[in-house]
């Protein structure tokens, strides 16, 4: 399903490199980690179809401001969202490190998310995650929780609510 994890050796390597801690036992969530500004975000691997290099994005005049445009993924037109504008960050030029993460919202819909840089795939123990204690209703709706893990703060995105069509 997930192209990055196709080779088993790759993920094994990661877990070998990890420092084994006691809390690592128990169920974990496998995430694709990417960065925006200086923060690390994660999306569950099960929700991701593939990660693409940025090609030609066709703008759609009149679309909501978060929408960069559409791309052609093997015959399917996929909307590309700018993750920066989603989190109210200033926009940044697309460069060699930029990637589009194709997320499967449901059987029929997928969405591309433009991110600055895709780091790696990581298993994060479920119990590490805690719900976000935030007063901002709107912003936290898209965040499933945060994890403090190996000296990093990882923000786990909730792609289900993020792309719910209002209708």
């Amino acid at each position: 399903m997930m192209h990055l994890t196709d080779s088993k050796g790759f993920t094994d390597n990661i877990s070998l490199m990890d420092d084994m801690e006691d809390e690592d036992f128990g169920p974990s969530i496998r995430c694709v980690m990417f960065t925006l500004e200086n923060e690390i975000y994660g999306i569950q691997v099960s929700k991701i179809r593939e990660v693409l290099r940025v090609g030609n994005i066709r703008p759609v005049p009149g679309a909501p401001y978060q929408v960069l445009g559409v791309i052609n993924v093997r015959g399917v037109i996929v909307t590309v969202i700018d993750s920066r504008s989603m989190f109210e960050l200033s926009s940044k030029e697309i460069d060699d490190l930029s990637r589009i993460i194709i997320v499967e919202v449901d059987d029929e819909r997928s969405v591309g998310i433009l991110v600055d840089f895709v780091m790696e795939v990581k298993d994060i123990p479920e119990k590490k995650f805690e719900p976000l204690s935030s007063t901002k209703d709107n912003a936290s709706r898209n965040i499933q929780g945060i994890a403090h893990y190996q000296d990093n703060v990882i923000i786990l995105l909730d792609v289900d609510t993020m792309f719910q069509d209002p209708d």
């Binding site: 066709r58 703008p59 759609v60 679309a63 559409v70 037109i77 969405v111």
Partner: protein
């Protein structure tokens, strides 16, 4: 409940319900048609069987009773009159609703309305003899006891002829609804002097067969044969009036059929003398066991199967969509190659290969497309019922004719057209056709006619609803338009008749003096119009006051592939549906005027509003001079507007792909596609575009 079996059952039941819907209405026109009666009976029976297996009791109860009623009807015990039809149709509605509910995921069906069940029971009891018809419900019942012709040694070897005779006998018996009564009486007699122990000759056997047939006819007094030996005129024919050639011919045929009773022919149509054979009766019945090798090939009494089963395969539409997508992809690759060929100094071989690919993809596309095609019958099937119910409610007499039911069109279209058509047909029945008294007063036949027709016209389908009703009054429509404030009197009077008729398509325009629950809420026709426009179709209205109205709908054969005109701004291309494009010319600022803040272009003494699409599509490229641009005149509904575009790139057939998440609600786009050079082009939705400028 086993979901898998249930879903199989539902697919089958839904089809049966569709069929029944049609058959039940047909039956009202020819209530004695034996084939039809049997088909209806079998329909209820099959649904009952499936429902019983799955333990859906409410469904079983209704089906069972309906089946009983039809059993009586096909025996001639009771007739299928309008009253019976009402009860049966209500029962049918319950069945149809139950199946819909099951389809929708409902698993616990409500108890049946006791009143309806009682009425059904009463209908059944209305027949002369009360016999538990359960026997017929299960044609395999043991009651069928066959009798050997007298004198035939039951232990001896059976000859082919004898076996055949037994089979026939069985068929006959089973077809009879009172097997016990009949079978006991049908005993055949050998002619005097024939040695019962001797070999039977062909003639003797024939004689016995005839004897048996006659006996059965005589013995079963309730069967439809006996009372029908007198000839019957078609309903509505005046017995004292002059006889026409056709009527005489029909009577002759009727007589012939009756006379040929002794050797029943499978072709008997209206006369029910031909034995009725349950299709469920297979040769693997206990009777045929002793000599399974002897094939009952030519059982003469077995009528030919009524209609050939549709030679279709059910395919998941999602799978079809996938194939469609792949094929679309192939088409796009072809487009790309075609573009390449034009640019590079290509060798002949490449050009041949491309030519080949062109052929293959075109064919493949066409054949895959055909798998999506469905006969328009699927939509038309519901109309006999709609018209019947409405006509009864309104006390009108209306005959519905269906033409071109076999015309194929895209599955999506079949579904999308259903609602608009229902609305139009209701309108014809409600507003078009007059009351019987008025019709007679106007010298028209009492019964009005509504014709629903479909035909293919090139790459379009033409659907028309024609009635011979009172037609539309253009003057009345003009007055109404002024009353409703849609336009002033001068404008209204300038409308020609055709434009006046088209007023009924505008929102909030209903001329019905009285709002009925059938039509006349003024929300209908504009919705119909919008739905048709969405399908890239058009509506055309013809009407002659006092003579009738014809509404024609023209829709493309398929929604998946769209011929477009490609235009572009800066580097971005957009596709305009070609069906809407009227003409293209160079922009000339001298030929434009600014009227009330709106730029208009003069075209053959008419001013047409102009929209500069780059204001919306390329807002960053500020443009002073439009003189290099082109104007594309398009028709949107009844309106003509001009779009100013940077460049016109020519025609292209495109595969429509939906725009994804978060873009569905952006108005002005109908979808996207991939062009010959591999880029994405957005397909414009013209009404949406105009909305953006208002």
């Amino acid at each position: 409940m086993d979901e898998e079996i249930l879903s199989d059952f539902l697919v089958e039941a839904s089809e049966l319900v569709d069929q029944l819907n049609e058959q039940l209405v047909d039956l009202e026109h020819s209530p004695t048609d034996a084939d039809l009666l049997n088909a209806v009976f079998r329909g209820f029976h099959t649904v009952k069987g499936g429902a019983g297996f799955l333990g859906i009791t409410p469904l079983v109860e209704v089906c069972h009773r309906a089946e009983n009623v039809f059993d009586k009807i096909r025996n001639g015990d009771i007739s299928y009159d309008a009253q019976a039809a009402d009860v049966i149709l209500r029962a049918f509605d319950v069945i149809s609703d139950s199946i819909e509910a099951l389809n929708a995921g409902e698993r616990d069906l409500p108890e049946n309305d006791a009143g309806l069940l009682h009425e059904l029971d009463m209908l059944t009891k209305g027949g002369a003899v009360v016999i538990e018809p359960e026997v017929v419900a299960e044609p395999v019942a043991q009651e069928v006891s066959l009798h050997l012709a007298e004198g035939v040694d039951p232990d001896g070897d059976i000859t082919d002829e004898e076996f055949e005779a037994l089979l026939n006998q069985r068929d006959q018996l089973q077809s009879d609804v009172m097997p016990v009564a009949t079978s006991s009486e049908v005993s055949l007699h050998l002619a005097d002097g024939v040695d019962p122990d001797g070999d039977i000759t062909d003639e003797e056997f024939e004689a016995l067969l005839n004897q048996r047939d006659q006996l059965q006819t005589a013995v079963a007094p309730k069967s439809q044969v006996e009372p029908k030996v007198e000839l019957h005129l078609d309903a509505g024919v005046d017995p004292d009036g002059d006889i026409t050639d056709e009527e005489f011919e029909a009577l002759l045929n009727q007589r012939d059929l009756l006379l040929s009773d002794a050797e029943p022919t499978p072709s008997s149509h209206n006369v029910t003398a031909a034995p009725i054979v349950e299709p469920a009766v297979s040769p693997s019945q206990p009777v045929s066991k002793p000599k399974a090798a002897t094939k009952p090939v030519v059982a003469p009494s077995k009528p030919a199967p009524k209609s050939n089963p549709e030679s279709t395969v059910r395919v998941d539409t999602r799978r079809l969509d996938e194939i469609m997508n792949l094929v679309g992809e192939l088409v796009l690759v072809r487009n790309r190659l075609l573009t390449l060929r034009g640019t590079s100094d290509s060798s002949e071989e490449i050009s041949n290969a491309v030519g080949n690919l062109d052929h293959v993809t075109t064919d493949l596309q066409a054949s895959v497309m055909k798998t999506r095609m469905q006969p328009v019958k699927k939509v038309f099937g519901r109309f006999p019922r709609v018209v019947r119910d409405l006509a009864r409610k309104l006390n009108k007499k209306i005959e519905l004719e269906l033409h071109g039911e076999d015309t194929d069109l895209d599955k999506n279209l079949v579904e999308a057209l259903a609602d608009p058509l229902v609305h139009l047909v209701r309108n014809s029945v409600d507003h078009g056709v007059e009351m019987p008294a008025d019709r007679i007063a106007n010298g028209k036949p009492e019964t009005g006619t509504v014709i629903l027709a479909a035909e293919q016209e090139g790459d379009h389908i033409l659907l028309s609803i024609t009635d011979d009703g009172k037609g539309m009054d253009a003057d009345l429509l003009r007055r109404k338009a002024v009353e409703k404030g849609l336009m002033d009197e001068v404008a209204a009077n300038q409308l020609d008749d055709k434009s006046a008729f088209e007023l009924i398509l505008s929102a909030g325009f209903s001329t019905a003096e009285q709002v009925s629950d059938i039509s006349g809420r003024g929300v209908g026709m504009d919705v119909v119009k919008n739905m048709i426009t969405k399908l890239n179709g058009s509506i055309d209205i013809h009407s002659v006051l006092g003579k009738g109205t014809q509404i024609s709908i023209r829709v493309p054969l398929t929604l998946a592939i769209l011929p477009t005109l490609m235009v572009s701004f800066c580097e971005d291309s957009y596709a305009i549906p070609l069906t809407s494009v009227l003409e293209i010319f160079d922009y000339n600022s001298e030929k434009t005027n600014k009227i009330d803040g709106q730029r208009m272009v003069r075209l053959r003494d008419k001013s047409i509003p102009l929209f500069f699409l780059d204001e919306w599509l390329a807002p960053h490229a500020v443009k002073e001079n439009y003189d290099e641009d082109k104007v594309v005149i398009v028709s949107i509904g009844n309106q003509r507007v001009g779009f100013v575009v940077d460049q016109v790139n020519g025609q292209e057939e495109v595969v429509i792909k939906p725009l994804g998440t978060m873009l569905k609600r952006v108005s002005g786009y109908a979808g996207a596609t991939i062009t010959g050079n591999g880029n994405i082009a957005l397909i414009l939705d013209l009404p949406g575009v105009v909305q953006r400028f208002q």
